[in-house]
Symmetry: D3
Subunit: 155 residues, 6 copies
Amino acid sequence: MKKIAVFPGSFDPITRGHESIVLRARNLFDGVIVAVGQNAEKNYFFPLQRRMEWISEVFPDDPAIRVESYQGLTVDFCRQQGALFIVRGLRTSADFEFERSIGQINRQIYPGLETIFLLATPEFSALNSSIVRDIIRNNGDPRPFIPEAIHKDFV
Amino acid sequence: MKKIAVFPGSFDPITRGHESIVLRARNLFDGVIVAVGQNAEKNYFFPLQRRMEWISEVFPDDPAIRVESYQGLTVDFCRQQGALFIVRGLRTSADFEFERSIGQINRQIYPGLETIFLLATPEFSALNSSIVRDIIRNNGDPRPFIPEAIHKDFV
Amino acid sequence: MKKIAVFPGSFDPITRGHESIVLRARNLFDGVIVAVGQNAEKNYFFPLQRRMEWISEVFPDDPAIRVESYQGLTVDFCRQQGALFIVRGLRTSADFEFERSIGQINRQIYPGLETIFLLATPEFSALNSSIVRDIIRNNGDPRPFIPEAIHKDFV
Amino acid sequence: MKKIAVFPGSFDPITRGHESIVLRARNLFDGVIVAVGQNAEKNYFFPLQRRMEWISEVFPDDPAIRVESYQGLTVDFCRQQGALFIVRGLRTSADFEFERSIGQINRQIYPGLETIFLLATPEFSALNSSIVRDIIRNNGDPRPFIPEAIHKDFV
Amino acid sequence: MKKIAVFPGSFDPITRGHESIVLRARNLFDGVIVAVGQNAEKNYFFPLQRRMEWISEVFPDDPAIRVESYQGLTVDFCRQQGALFIVRGLRTSADFEFERSIGQINRQIYPGLETIFLLATPEFSALNSSIVRDIIRNNGDPRPFIPEAIHKDFV
Amino acid sequence: MKKIAVFPGSFDPITRGHESIVLRARNLFDGVIVAVGQNAEKNYFFPLQRRMEWISEVFPDDPAIRVESYQGLTVDFCRQQGALFIVRGLRTSADFEFERSIGQINRQIYPGLETIFLLATPEFSALNSSIVRDIIRNNGDPRPFIPEAIHKDFV
């Protein structure tokens, strides 16, 4: 049976930290689904379509990396996709505390589901999409923090 | 003098984690007041009346467990009720950092007031009302996470 | 070359914790700029003018302590001011995790910039502006938590 | 039934932080047993007899505060004493993580046993016996950190 | 290419927490090597031979789970075994901070090596071998905390 | 008055993380004293003389960076040296919790003394002398982790 992992997030926008997690998860799983959450009650900086296109441009050639959007609970999306793994990056112990709660609850709802954690690489350990948005909003240069493949859209 | 503890929160809705804290605090105090905060600037998922009824249904038979609503500072509510203790559950070290700040400030405002902490039991250490609301909002089944006495309202 | 530090924040309102950091940073630097952030997307409790006046009243006599407002990225403000240091207070490990991310990103954007941390003194380690606002909103007495020089405005 | 709490530790030596926890626990329980652990594999700075005498001198008049020594598991000592509560002080989130593990294991071994946590008061939040020993060893003055009743022995 | 993971530790003795990590890692990897560290400068409670036998008894039937001992750096052992993954369990944020340091250093020494983290299940989140040894040393019953397959040796 | 900072530690041996802190502290202070603790009860891997020579070789040309050894309390050493500042690097929130305790106690013993914290740069955030010693002990190559100026002694 193929080992499929879901990597859920807002990706608003995708960062170099996200890129690193996907590429390293790819070494571990037969397929990685980058799952872009779309939550009616949340305001996003970039529209869903844009966020998905960027992810596709970052991983253009590997058919085992797919981009999907989803609504509702992440566990339900995993079930639909036949995925038994969620993959998440850990940067700080605050991340860990948060992810532990989500991971434990997910396991109670869907007992077969396992959450796998990878370490953020040190140079991206401070990075998140909210910082990138803040830089964009204030006319700074976000390119050091986003994947090279999409630099062209942030000149 | 009777030892009365206030257990403050939003209880939006009450979880099995809350239930466990109240029952265990009951072993320690002569009376426990479950104090449902009502903050004009906050949006609640369930109306105050509903949140209070559910708590009453969870603890129907023990006159030493009372449900009250309050507005304003928790310390002022404690003073009105003649309560010298606040009781809180601790799940994670993030909880602890937050509660420590609140507890220290409360003690500066009302020097006689003591905050008592109980550990969340391991099986509820990942649980909070926000996760329960998220499950409800997405048509999941929240019953594993809420007290049995009110399961009938979540079919 | 003069050593200038920027102490950025919302100061909504200035607390005794802020006051302590500024006075202690003053022992270390030739000049300290208390930099009041003004973010179009954020709602403040007190208007910018009021927040700045209070800071001026707290440090009336030392020409090396200046109050300024700024918009945009803190690193850009530091550059404009010729400041090579940011100073921040640390209360809890949650503070630390947050500040570490900001400090690392700032250093990537502006390599010469160094963030310097001072410890909150124990009696203020629980204090923040949000707690002060909460007390004011609920008709409590915030004076134990704000600098003496501005007590007159909180009777 | 009387509510008896055990406050276990090495008390090598007792600090002002310990003193504060005992006095505040006394407001909550009918009796507090200060339980001085004696572990054959551990080296203590002060002999057991001395550590116990000092505690007795700190709480001379309250028959509800007793000093006892014990060997073996703390849960076994609680059972022998008919104590259903352990009381512990929390200073930092590192304390919390450590205490949570011990508290959960204790509860698995002795299901009726509840661990109750009090916050270290801010001025003692940095204090522990190891720091006091270090000061003594280096001919510093430990008196600011130990209870007044035993200052006479540290001139 | 086969995906082999090393699960390094002292296993002094193996706990139910370890057992859970191995079984769940088994779902993810083609092979799991339980690697029992033997460090000349460390005192162990149980001899190496005993610790290894117990692990073998816990996983008797799955040829993809192997027990090995090793000396020296874990990264060197991984290289010898052709393993590109280390697997570790995370219980607390203290665990996380420690593991992050080790994981980052390991990656600097052996760039292809990836550390994969699984969450301790809530009921084992307080458990470690040191607690088990403490129970044994004090004539308590360690069986709730060790794998069923080896209960016979702890009557 | 000159601003002198003490950077205390064991430096057993000095790492690239230490080197970075000293160089960055040098931008802030008029003088930095690298203070090598010598504690009779502690076993060091390298002798004091060796640890001090290495530090001297790392900072050969700047008369404002001095190496000294000391025994006893760090605060007493600061007093003797006329230093009003201690400088420390912060890598993790565990570091922070530890340093906060030491910093608060130091301030109670010597009220004029201020502890200043700098962030470990991300690439050294996992690094400490104990990891370096472990690599040396196991015949690994420690050079990526120690200052270039002393690589010649670790071939």
